[in-house]
Amino acid sequence: MVQASSGHVSVMDVSKSFSLKVDNEYQTIQALKSVSFEVRDSEIVTLIGPSGCGKTTALRILMGLETTTRGRVTVGGKAVKGCGYDRGLVFQHAELLPWLTALQNVMFGLEMKGMRGRELKETAMRYLDLVGLADAANRRPYQLSGGMKQRVGIARALAIDPEVLLMDEPFGALDAQTRESLQGELLDIQARTKKTIVFVTHDLDEAVLLADRIIVMRAGSIQEVIDVPLPRPRGDLGALRGTAQFGEARYQVWKALHRAPDAASH
């Protein structure tokens, strides 16, 4: 077996199919076809591909929200069986509980983990502070902007101190400026916490800006794995976009996305 540090993710020959009723007929949909990849401890890997390529399914399997039809998934050397506190999920639309304040939303995961009393509140507050929302602790989700909601979502996932942070297109619904500042903050937080991050996106720039490696997916399989030779810490992301390495990496991913075994259809 792979000698794994705690944040190491290993996906071995994983297939996932489910049946879907279309026009009164059951069709088997192959969401993943023997997908294998590894994510090293403290690495940021982005999964990119068109809708329906299986990237979100892969992430949900890592989280334990879906099972595999075939293959093995391990996190930190342990086989994934259902959800666990070694993984934290950041949802596409934050999915804060609307009846709780920002602070209570962060406390929710910690409470589930069994934390109580002063430690609970202080820990939650520390993570809200980490995402820059200490002042908004008592606001409810409807009083938060989209970007703020997603910050709370990140704080909630980070608070349980998972080994791996799994993020499902978390910035997809945000405006360009908010998205950019959150990308920068995510990199800062990762630099401080050294979390392994698996990040699903359909945004080319985002994939390159965040990743150490990019996994390009198409139709349930891995099309290509691309190394991003940009240095870490990444510093000013705006300036980074102007560099030749960024352009080169971006072009590589673009080519991989467009080099279709079967023509991309929408």
């Binding site: 989280m63 929200l65 259902g82 959800c83 666990g84 506190y85 993984r87 934290g88 999920l89 949802f91 639309h93 934050a94 999915e95 509980l97 609307p98 009846w99 929710f108 995961g109 589930m112 983990k113 409810r140 989700p141 409807y142 009083q143 989209g146 909601k149 349980i160 619904a173």
Partner: protein
Amino acid sequence: MSDQTSLAAAAVVREEPALRPPREMPRWAITSLSVALAVLAWEIFGRDVNPVFGSYPSAIAVAFWELLRSGELHAALWQSMQAFLVGYGLAVILGVPLGLLIGRSRFLEAAIGIFVTGAYAMPLVALVPLLVLWMGLGFAVKACIVFLMAVFPIIINTWLGVRAVPKTLIEVGKSFVASDFTIMRRIVLPATIPYIMAGIKLAVGRGVVGMVIAEFFTAISGLGAIIITAANSFDTARMFVPVVVLMVLATALNSLVGYVERKVAPWQSEISGREEG
């Protein structure tokens, strides 16, 4: 030249007191006026009707005062409310958890759901003679009829509410390894509160109907008794008194539930009308 005039016009506009709220009639005033007009119309036209076939507000007010003075109204109201509160309370206490369970469990939904929808659609009133056979003519049968009328809308609304809870919110619970019970208590229940409250409101009206019917068919007692005896002696004004009292009571109960809802789920009134991202 024209620039100057428009500038001058702008200046004039700015001198106007800023942001005067538009003069609109407040809602309560519209409602009060509408009720007053309806009562007035009833009073005017009702006087032309033979007092056996109809009545009018001032006659009802006089009958109300008489019933109040003789103490009949208090006694009857208390009798009725006891049965109502027990039946209705039980309906809430049992209906909500049952609705939650049916909504969450595929098995229970398939096994019990059909009985609930069936019982809701069934004319329960038709069963009253049978219930009397089982339970006699006393308090128990009245409470039971109120319960049966009230419990099904509560179960059905709660059930539908659970079905409407976004799957992703449940996954939030799962992603933090919450147990099914915890997910139910911490996520499903609060997310379902608006539906539960809607069911509880519906149940008020149905429960009141159940109560009056029970009082007609069983031991003649409570407000239902006043209605029946007054109707039998063609005292129509007197008959209207409990009807009006019940209407006011049911409306008040509904507002009370609405008030409780805003206290228990203050986020809801803020969210509704906004798009949720």
